[in-house]
Symmetry: C2
Subunit: 438 residues, 2 copies
């Protein structure tokens, strides 16, 4: 039978040695910032009941996720984000003092068509605050998000902010009277920059938006700029109603808070930013790597008080932020922001023959016990092949313990770069280990 | 409509704040040991083609795992271990210098009946060495596994070792001529301690093992003890054949190596240890927490050269070890080996009113920038409620910045345990931060 290669399903991927090391570095940075802000890490279940996933996004979600029946005929689904799981977790933990600040960094699945910077298996970092209605909680997540980018060395970015309350009341003023119509309008606004102008016009027309209203809508959604400037424009905007004022007040208060956080200079109000996800119902925001906009938003979030209510049965105000790990890694890679990744052990101990095998093993163990990563010859190869292996693995030092070295109670240490060899007496070995441990 | 609580599917679980912190500690220890031995971390895809999973364990595996069709009708399955994924990864990476030493710590799923220390979603740490036929590679994984336990403070354990080659040739000597019969015999031997004696006898009878052979088999599989002693007994054992000698030689050579590693005192040869999994074909071993045997083996592994051949198309000798994270955590918990886990922030900044809000936010930001985890009042509560919150969160210090404190250019710091308050001048704040950062 001819050999058949085993490949991964479409859109799936392995994470290899180098990428894992990059992720560890990245996750550690994210975790440190989250913990400095008092977020506590959790990991919600990757498998949920389908009804839990549908509660957030409606039955249409089925088309976009991995779902299946288990052997008992129960409908299950793989999580498509971390927010649902965290919200479900918190909803069942009414014993916890509020606000509850949680974060997670983990994998998830979507049945999307694979494309640039999008896989069917991907990872997000996610910070959520449950139990505060205040815009201060929104400011806290925005500030923490920005600190993550800064901590990673990604200083050239913009945070674009809007209010769903403001948008919703503005759309209502355009005679989009039903919530469904307004939600559909938000979906169109969300993709204004991705589809041709005439298609935008056509879709709004189909929603029943007349030319006059459409013009006002397009004018409104193109408002963007520094917060103070846009707040002034919004203040003098003709259409005002109770809800619109409420949305405006929230934005003002958020801007004040972000100023206190020292974060206002990279924040912009943008009436075209609405976030595609339907459960947002307050402040929404997203951030772009300036010059790397083609990967899409590198983080996004907002308030979703209603979702907390759905999962919890009683009010659970909530606001949060999430960012795609794979996208972020593209931005960091392009800007050369990852440190030099070295997954090679520092040392390598040869085994010349069976007579020196036990001593060579003991030597490797000694080095490891001292906290230095050390590989050991496991293939019983000629010395030349052993040195080639150490070279190809990028291991900087090879330790050779042959009969001649043992006679002198010493070990020969080869610097693989310079190819210089030094005979180091056993009694000086601890010193050498200390030196290379750094 | 009455509220309906959203629960997890049967056998699934969330990992909460405290457990996540314990895991982080545990994973870090495991990672350090693995890296000291020169293993590099990867994370294979959680979703595989069903045929990939079946290649390892046959079509029967379908009953024990989560598998489903995707929207294009392709048969997929959730991974049930990390070995399959790593072996598939390595099989497609013939560019890597061998041996290839990989490790992973990640989650997986099995459609088991949930029971004590067994969930349908669980985690394993896993170290594998590809490309070496030598028992030295087996010794390397056993030694690294033991160092993980030692590093965790778990010193009271036993490693039980056997050879599948030895067992297989012994079973052949009992006239179990087909591989299927011998595999079935191994499965029975694997559960000898879990099922009643008469059932064992009955099952062997059904396999065609006569009373005389059965007695010899039960005698053979009850051989256990210190390596030197058992090797001596095996040497004088009457039935010997080419393969049995080969298995015996491998055990001898492994024992020599483990002695050189300084690991022999906790290792025992045990002819009753065969490991249930069918792909092992060389050295096998497992370790038990002494006194905590009810959780089952805390790690287990062995050589599986044939599996490498299946995935790779050409020879890929392989040996490895894996341990269940949830079981290990039970052992560590029982022995009190986890450090004190504290997920609370170190400090908490109140917000007394809108007049001091901006300064209070700035104060929290200052503390965070200095690397100290700090929470901030986000609910606009009366001071009394804010202090109650800090208390219930276990935060040791609350910083209060009211108009009076601001007038004196100072901050009031309350030690939440002693309830003593100190007025700290702003110019001395950096010192205080340094002190609590430790």
């Amino acid at each position: 039978m001819p050999y058949k290669a085993f490949t991964l399903p479409r859109g799936m991927r392995d994470i290899d040695q180098i990428e894992t090391a990059k992720r560890e570095w990245l996750f550690d940075k994210i975790a440190r910032v989250a913990e400095k802000y008092g977020f506590q890490r959790v990991d919600p279940s990757p498998i949920e009941k389908l009804e839990t996933l549908e509660a957030k996004s409606g039955p249409a979600i089925k088309d976009e996720i991995y779902c299946f029946k288990d052997k008992a005929g129960r409908d299950l689904g793989l999580r498509f984000d971390l927010t649902v799981g965290m919200t479900r977790m918190v909803a069942s933990r009414r014993d916890l003092p509020q606000p509850i600040k949680l974060y997670a960094i983990s994998g998830m699945w979507r049945y999307d068509e694979p494309q640039f910077a999008r896989y069917r298996y991907f990872h997000q970092w996610d910070m959520e605050i449950y139990g505060s209605e205040s815009t201060l909680a929104d400011a806290e997540t925005i500030s923490a998000s920005m600190d993550i980018l800064e901590e990673l060395g990604l200083h050239e970015y913009e945070v674009l902010i809007n209010s769903r309350v403001l948008m919703d009341s503005f759309l209502a003023s355009l005679k989009l009277n039903s919530e469904d119509q307004r939600m559909e309008a938000l979906r169109i606004i969300d993709k204004v920059h991705k589809i041709p102008r005439e298609k935008v016009v056509e879709e709004f027309k189909r929603l029943g938006v007349n030319s006059d209203c459409l013009e006002r809508l397009l004018e409104f959604t193109s408002m963007k700029g520094p917060p103070e400037k846009i707040l002034e424009e919004l203040d003098s905007y003709e259409v005002q109603g109770h809800l619109m004022l409420k949305g405006l007040d929230a934005l003002k208060s958020l801007v004040d808070d972000l100023k206190a956080y020292g974060k206002l200079s990279k924040c912009f109000l943008n009436m075209g930013v609405v976030r595609g996800i339907d459960y947002y119902d307050g402040i929404v925001f997203e951030a772009y790597d300036k010059g790397g906009e083609d990967v899409g938003a590198i983080l996004g979030g907002g308030r979703y008080d209603k979702l907390g209510l759905i999962y919890g049965g009683t009010a659970l105000p909530a606001t949060g932020v999430a960012g795609g790990v794979e996208r972020l890694m593209i931005s960091l890679d392009r800007r050369g922001l990852f440190p030099k990744i070295d997954v090679s052990p520092k040392a390598y101990v040869t085994i010349l023959n069976d007579q020196v095998k036990a001593q060579s093993i003991a030597l490797a163990q000694l080095i490891r016990r001292r906290g230095v990563s050390c590989d050991l010859e496991l293939k019983n190869r000629p010395l030349k092949k052993q040195l080639e292996y150490a070279d190809s693995m990028g291991i900087p030092y090879t330790l050779i313990l042959g009969p001649r070295e043992m006679e002198k109670d010493a070990v020969r240490i080869r610097d693989m770069k310079t190819r210089r060899e030094t005979l180091v007496p056993m009694r000086s070995l601890e010193e050498w280990i200390k030196k290379i441990r750094g």
